[in-house]
Symmetry: C2
Subunit: 583 residues, 2 copies
């Protein structure tokens, strides 16, 4: 309903002048849809054949790979996916494909940052051989290949493309999704479903923002009181067994689990168990009459760890010790975002310190110096949010954060901050809010907000959530995370991560809020967002995304639709601009 | 994450000056949460008692009421809802409540527009009597009372408030939700779940926008080709049996089903079966070089019924006949929105007509005159979208739309258009897009849209969907649909309706996209949005909504959360402004 799209005439004119260079629009440039689009995909004479009912996978002995192969074989045989658009190829009586041979060069390479995820997938003519092959350096590459293979299969009885050659590898080694399970709780089932969906899209890191000011759901053996008092409830906790389950499931899906225990800010929930290690607890976040700078927290729920209290470090070290033992990944995220000055300043001990010419930055330095080495010495690389270095009010010097031990995650000012961080020599994970924050656009969530009580006709601007507007899949797809960097600098960008902050999200909306937008980033970080001529390929991606989104829904992921179903049935007809050529 | 809320200092100052008049903030002003808040709710001495395990409902004989009572009794005994915040009342050994006596004055009054939905619910002290009573004029009022009763019960074993007096009735007789099942398909299960959720909130009309340009899912006995060729697929159709099921389920839940077969615009899908009754079929909606006025459709998918073709009326009358027979409600929605001039002008017969000094408005008049009386004569009131009268390019005179037979639904220009319509003497349903359109805010859905390929730092404004930004629950809650009308004019406003257009929605997101926002409107249209002093009560409503949203989730409706769970546990602490008094 409504006017569809309002496009200013001048804008349209400019586009008309350029439309002749628009890439060819077609529903599927090739009838078989793999997402992310593989780096190289060659199918010179589109042919398909049946999958033999006795289809077998031969794989080298490896605890994960054997399980993975079994799971995928089951999917190959039983999925029976029915594409939205019938691929224009037909069975021509070729011999069926009987088996898949997986070759792995180094079956012992673990799932770590930077592990080789490349693979070659070859399906010869069945007259030549009825065995397809996936060759990979590691088990994890083979897993990526198996996912691709699953997307080549469709129909009932299952059939797939043959005489096909794929060579595939990611542009970026770090391709993540962050989930905040503190503002609202998510059960283990939801986390497993998220991992499953990530794996379908070759996303490989689940950044689990487990704790924050609103709740502390993590049951830690050496600090049980934190969850006992700080979780939302007994049924809203993660036990060590739950963690094991999630980590294992991640492994089986090629997804690393990186824990974040945000500190020293964002720790109000710790005060339930340990009031004396926190400052400014249980106060109203924005005292009447205070300006932005003088509020006590960046959002409701006040409390920060006190770097001057000895007991703080006793508790923190217990927490770190337990988390390191529960999460085997080599990356550990310590947070350190959004230190609110007045929350510390409200504390008498800190006031005394500041009166003696101490600074808030020194407090943060104290905190980092007491924790970072402790974590690094346990064979972990520590990830922090960018403020630890870049915040204008409370930050530490680069000397406190050794580049070899520290990775920084950026979320403000798009590529500008990425550039600052790589120029300072740090490896970077890009989560620029302007593009990658999935929570934006549903309005402000604080209550008693008279901005939503305006007379009709008031211009509501972008709607009020701090990072509005909503980031569409196209916005996410088009983001070049190394924009403005030279080649050397770009090498320091490990990859990117979309983030779902949960002030207005929980299991009821997790799937539609994350999908399909996260998979837009998944393709861009795996094989890019440009076609072979170097043009942005979001137009061509639309129908592929429509088809893939539908397949994910049939696989149990409640992804939001991006267009009416009519659009993929009528390729190019739902574009803003008339296609030059319709295929 | 992020800065939470950015509020300009001057704005804050103004609010600080006024905050002393902010209503008392409390999680639940009274521990028992009923949504919508009843008109009158009196519980002088908060007391609770158990529901007897043999709890019985006595109701007059009525086919619907007996079924309804049985369903509710089952819910009373078995729901065992656990509130987010434990109500601060305790069992004190009062005798249990043993039964509910339903008294209905006119058990034969059907479910129609304007039927009396009021009820009185009295639960005396159990020492006085262990029987509660619901007294209502009609069965439908009793149903509203039963829903309220269900929300007074919580816990395991179930207990409820007693010594309580409720007198409740709606401000507006028409309280609707519109669902578009043409742009994307929704199964019968989803429709039934929607009706269930509406009934929980005393919403009473499901405006079913069944067909449109993208698909025609309705199987009509006298025009089977329309669905056969125009539906998305065999599994994406509604048979007459499906319709019966939906209508009956609606009855059992006090929800009327109003069908809309949009015409003469928005009918591209009809061309699959009947190409010759449509104009401008299968063309690109916005031809290269055309300006806004000269596009062929308001959004992708082109085609309008040709008012000059005889066969058009043959088909249309068959459609109307079947729809009237399948949908017993007295309201029939004929659509008539968004006639795109060039779509008609592209047709040779119409060009000839226009060359002879005919006008497009005359064509619409021809169409309305050929259909409106036909529908009215079948004992239906016809609803149209406002453009049929107000569109600057293609509209009809008021004389063509007799006020006694026609209701107009407004969606543009907020209360300004409402005023125009009531001034012209029409009854109005308010769906102002600025407040009530649920699809807004997720960006434009057309493909190949280079507006989403902007350099970082570009101001993306409100995000691109035509009616952005996203309408928050607070925006919806605060809308006064009779704003600017005098008392006589306001009498013509029948009520309001939120609308979910489905270009970017389908069953995967139906629940979170509609809820809880639709229930914000539900309360405002039932008992208003102001407290007893006349102040807007959205602040006080926040925690009640948090609690009620949670209850709906436990009842199987995937409503989106509006805040972290922490907020309702810490009443008032998530407000933008510090509460003057915390209770």
């Amino acid at each position: 309903m409504g006017n569809g799209i309002r496009i200013p005439f001048s804008f349209l004119l400019i586009l008309v002048l350029f439309f002749h260079s628009t890439p060819q629009i077609s529903a599927t440039g090739y009838p078989i849809n793999v997402w992310p689009k593989p780096t190289t995909f060659s199918w010179p004479e589109p042919r398909i054949t049946l999958l033999s009912p006795n289809f077998t996978i031969f794989s080298p002995s490896n605890p994960y790979l054997n399980q993975v192969a079994k799971r995928y074989r089951n999917q190959f045989i039983n999925e029976h996916y029915h594409p939205l658009v019938d691929p224009p190829v037909h069975l021509t009586g070729l011999p069926p494909l009987r088996s898949l041979d997986i070759k792995v060069t180094d079956a012992s390479a673990p799932l770590t940052h930077g592990v080789n995820e490349s693979y070659k997938l070859i399906i010869h003519s069945p007259y030549q051989t009825q065995t397809a092959t996936i060759s990979a350096e590691t088990v994890w590459g083979a897993l990526r290949g198996l996912e691709t293979f699953s997307q080549l299969i469709y129909g009932n009885p299952p059939r797939l493309a043959c005489e096909l050659y794929i060579h595939d590898e990611p542009l970026f080694p770090y391709r993540g999704v962050m989930l905040d399970t503190s503002r609202n709780f998510y059960g283990v089932t939801d986390l497993l479903r998220l991992i499953k969906a990530m794996s379908m899209n070759k996303l490989n890191v689940l950044h689990w923002h487990i704790t924050d000011s609103h709740s502390f759901p993590l049951v830690l053996p050496s600090e049980p009181e934190l969850a006992k008092k700080g979780a939302y409830g007994e049924e809203m906790m993660y036990t060590p067994e739950d963690i094991t389950k999630v980590v294992e499931f991640g492994m089986e899906h090629g997804v690393r689990i990186m824990p974040e225990i945000d500190m020293p800010g964002h720790t109000a929930s710790w005060a339930e168990a340990y009031p004396d290690i926190e400052t400014c607890t249980n106060m109203f976040w924005w005292p009447a009459g205070a300006d932005l700078f003088n509020r006590l927290a960046h959002e409701p729920a006040t409390g920060q760890l006190n770097p001057l209290t000895m007991n703080t470090y006793k508790v923190v070290k217990n927490v770190i010790k337990d988390v390191v033992s529960m999460f085997p990944d080599s990356f550990y995220h310590e947070g350190a975002n959004e230190i609110t000055p007045n929350c510390w300043k409200s504390n008498k001990t800190i006031q005394y310190f500041l009166a003696k010419n101490g600074t808030l930055s020194q407090l943060l330095e104290m905190f980092v110096n007491s924790t970072l080495p402790y974590i690094s010495n346990q064979n972990r690389t520590v990830v922090y949010w960018e403020e630890v270095l870049l915040d204008p009010n409370v930050s530490v010097a680069a000397s406190v954060l050794p580049q070899k031990n520290v990775i920084l995650q950026t979320w403000n000012n798009g590529p500008n901050n990425t550039k600052k961080l790589v120029e300072a020599g740090y490896r970077v994970i890009v989560s620029s809010a302007e593009f990658y924050y999935l929570d934006c656009g549903h309005g402000g969530w604080a209550g008693n907000d008279s901005r939503y009580n305006q007379p009709p006709g008031t211009n509501l601007g972008n709607g009020g959530s701090w990072c509005a507007p909503f980031k569409t899949w196209q916005t996410i797809y088009n983001y070049d995370i190394t924009c403005g960097l030279n080649i050397e600098e770009a090498k320091l960008v490990l990859g990117g991560e979309v983030a779902l902050w949960s002030e207005q999200a929980d299991p009821a909306v997790m799937d539609p809020r994350i999908w399909p937008r996260a998979l837009a980033m998944a393709e861009t970080l795996w094989s890019g967002n440009r076609d072979s001529t170097g043009m942005k390929r979001y137009a061509e991606a639309t129908d592929r995304l429509n088809e893939w989104r539908n397949r994910m829904v049939t696989r149990g992921i409640g992804a939001e639709p991006i267009q009416p179903l009519w659009c993929i049935r009528n390729p190019g007809m739902c574009n803003t601009i008339q296609p030059f050529k319709l295929s």
